[in-house]
């Protein structure tokens, strides 16, 4: 069922050129942004006395050099894809959820509670419970900010950031207090029951089943946003809350839905970190995945499918920056600088591209 019966060769050509243009916008511009940002990173390294070329070599080659490196890169892609895809929904709704980091911690806490308190369940059941607990806790933590926005007009930008700090302090209290592993010197929770561990899928790597879940959920959110009525309403609210209201949509409910979806995805990422990677709750379980997810979503043009690619890319940057730290003593925080530049370039290209189209 193609819907262009009357379009002749001209129509087809126009359609192809539109497709080409949208391909350029979706792939070439983001790729250019990443290359320029990496070049800026290399310049910074060069200026501060490091080996600038090592940046490209390590990030784009070494992070994919062998099974182990690929496994570690994909392992980092799991939280980034989950969070990035979730944030696409919130950002499409015009909700600026900057609190994925806190929502990740909320999910990790809940997953740890469920993972350490139950014993002897069938693994499939226990893992499912852990995952659901994480997602619900993340949705709840985001829902606080969403509800305050809808009910009181409190800026979700500020409240989600504040809730990040609260979640961090909460975690710090739990792993030094009530949830502390009695025998451990270091603040950490007890180990999750073995039945609650995410199964690993490639030998000699820590890569776990969560990668498939992340890919599936990113696809699902794409379908939700672009193929379902509920997702359409979320997008209309984001484009113009007034228009949505005029069309009889419940703006507040859609906002709440969008932020809770993004929170659930971040909470899930937190659950996967404890159940799949660390097996315990620590104070610093995330190296900033929640903030990185913002860059993932923006680079993807707020498209959950795109978040798979951009999440993978940022995962490569992160494992590359770890290698850089180990091999060349380059501080790993370099990756934040590159992310910041990527975001700036992506929004700039977006605006400039739109202006060019208007002129034509």
């Amino acid at each position: 069922m193609t819907a262009v019966p009357l379009a002749g060769a001209d129509g087809l050509a126009a359609r192809n050129s539109r497709r080409l243009a949208s391909l350029v916008r979706a792939i070439v511009l983001p790729a250019a942004a990443v290359v320029i940002a990496l070049a800026c990173g290399a310049l910074l390294l060069y200026a501060t006395g490091f080996d600038g070329a090592a940046l490209f070599r390590v990030m784009l080659v070494d992070s994919f050099a062998d099974t182990r490196s690929i496994g570690e890169t994909l392992l980092k892609a799991i939280p980034l894809i989950l969070i990035g895809a979730g944030l696409c929904v919130a950002f499409r709704c015009g909700i600026w959820n900057i609190g994925a980091e806190g929502q990740l911690y909320a999910g990790a806490i809940a997953a740890t509670l469920v993972g350490t308190s139950l014993h002897g369940l069938p693994p499939a059941l226990h893992i499912t419970l852990v995952i659901i607990a994480g997602a619900l806790a993340g949705a709840f933590w985001a829902g606080i900010a969403g509800a305050l926005r809808v009910a009181f007009g409190a800026s979700e930008i500020v409240t989600t950031i504040m809730l990040n700090y609260v979640a961090l302090f909460l975690t710090s209290w739990l792993v030094t207090g009530p949830m502390k592993d009695a025998g451990a010197a270091y603040p950490q929770s007890a180990r999750l029951a073995r039945e609650a561990w995410m199964p690993r899928i490639i030998p000699e790597t820590r890569l776990h089943l969560g990668i498939l879940v992340a890919l599936a959920l990113a696809g699902l959110l794409y379908v939700f946003l672009f193929r379902m009525g509920a997702g359409y309403r979320v997008r209309v609210v984001g484009t113009s809350a007034d228009a949505a209201r005029y069309a009889g949509m419940n703006v507040g409910r859609n906002m709440l839905l969008a932020i809770c979806i993004s929170g659930a995805m971040a909470g899930l990422a937190g659950a996967f970190e404890v159940a799949g990677v660390t097996r315990r709750l620590y104070q610093s379980i995330s190296p900033g995945y929640g903030f990185e997810g913002i860059a993932v979503a923006l680079l993807a043009g707020n498209n959950p499918l795109g978040a798979i690619a951009s999440g993978g890319l940022f995962a490569a940057l992160r494992s590359g920056s770890e290698l850089l730290q180990i091999n060349e003593q380059v501080p790993q925080v370099l990756v934040q600088v590159i992310q910041g530049i990527v975001i700036l370039l992506v929004v700039a290209f977006g605006v400039l591209g739109a202006r060019l189209r208007l002129r034509r």
Binding site: L148, G153, M162, V166, L170, Q339, L344, A348
Partner: protein
């Protein structure tokens, strides 16, 4: 418990409130400038961090606090210029650019600090307290309130200065018009973009000063993420203060009080409350403040909207 009710302790807490409010006052004053011109700058955190770092680095190299403060201001303005180019000239989304500025500020300062300073472990000389004649001799509150360093005292004249500039000069009038009704400014032949650049850079200078206070007037060292959310709290301060500089001063003082009380309570292990609960206090209060201030009355009409002229 007697300790908590002790009058001297109350006075000391008040003095500490002012000191702890100082970075917030500067950041909020800067944000008032930017937001009055219609620019929502959520990148203050990154600008403060940059100022904290450049201030520290300059004072480390020169041994001079004033030079450090100047470098802090310039550092804030340098990254503020990036924000201005992308939001005003490119007209990109202000929230997204602000988020990028925060990442840049955090990443760059942490990167440079780890590369050049972390192994030195050295501090810098910081601004010394100055006793104000007569006032510092007042019983109880005198010593607590009026033996601060010059940067803390500077919050008062600078708040006044911001008020004068915004409400008693033609520059301020035009700047506020840019935030309310930019077309009217463009119609009389003035550049909306130029005013927004000015407002952002002045705001960034204040944020840089607030950051530099942390390394040069509060602790004597740079620590990664030393601002720990103060730039974001300043956003809430501005809303609560209804975009008034004088209001921002007093609201920031209130938040300074939260910080001071939090520190006092942390030092009371006999209360049996985990210290993390107290640490969370300023952040929770920020959320509560935003909930209490329900209306956005007083907000510039064009806040967050790029001007397409």
């Amino acid at each position: 418990m007697d300790d908590i009710l002790n009058l001297g302790l109350v006075a000391a807490t008040l003095g500490a409130s002012w000191r702890l409010a100082t970075p917030l006052i500067f950041a909020a004053l800067g944000e008032v400038f930017a937001e009055r011109a219609g620019v929502l700058n959520i990148g203050i955190e990154g600008m403060m961090l940059t100022g904290a770092f450049t201030g520290f680095a300059a004072a480390f190299a020169s041994g001079s606090v004033p030079l450090g403060l100047l470098a802090g201001i310039l550092g804030g303005m340098a990254i503020g210029l990036v924000f201005a180019v992308f939001t005003v000239t490119v007209k990109a989304n202000q929230i997204v650019v602000g988020a990028a500025i925060n990442l840049l500020g955090m990443g760059l300062t942490a990167f440079l600090f780890r590369t050049f300073y972390v192994s030195t472990g050295l501090g810098v000389e910081i601004a010394q307290p100055i006793a104000i004649p007569f006032l510092s001799d007042l019983p109880v509150i005198g010593a607590a309130l009026f033996r601060q360093n010059a940067i803390v005292y500077a919050t008062i004249p600078l708040t006044f200065l911001v008020w004068v500039v915004l409400f008693r000069t033609s520059f301020g009038l035009t700047l506020r018009a840019v935030g309310e009704h930019p077309k009217s400014v463009a119609v009389v032949g003035r550049s909306v973009a130029a005013y927004r650049y000015g407002a952002i850079l002045i705001g960034a200078a204040f944020a840089g000063l607030g950051g530099a206070f942390l390394t040069l007037g509060h602790s004597n060292q740079f620590v990664e993420n030393i601002t720990s959310g103060r730039g974001f709290i300043a956003l809430a301060v501005v809303v609560f203060a209804r975009w008034s500089p004088v209001g921002a001063f007093f609201v920031a003082l209130l938040f300074g009080l939260f910080y001071a009380v939090q520190l006092q309570l942390q030092a009371q292990p006999q209360l049996g409350v985990p210290y993390q609960l107290f640490q969370a206090l300023p952040y929770v209060m920020t959320i509560i403040v935003l909930v209490l201030v329900r209306s956005r009355r007083g907000a510039p009409k064009m806040l967050g909207v790029a001007y397409d002229g």
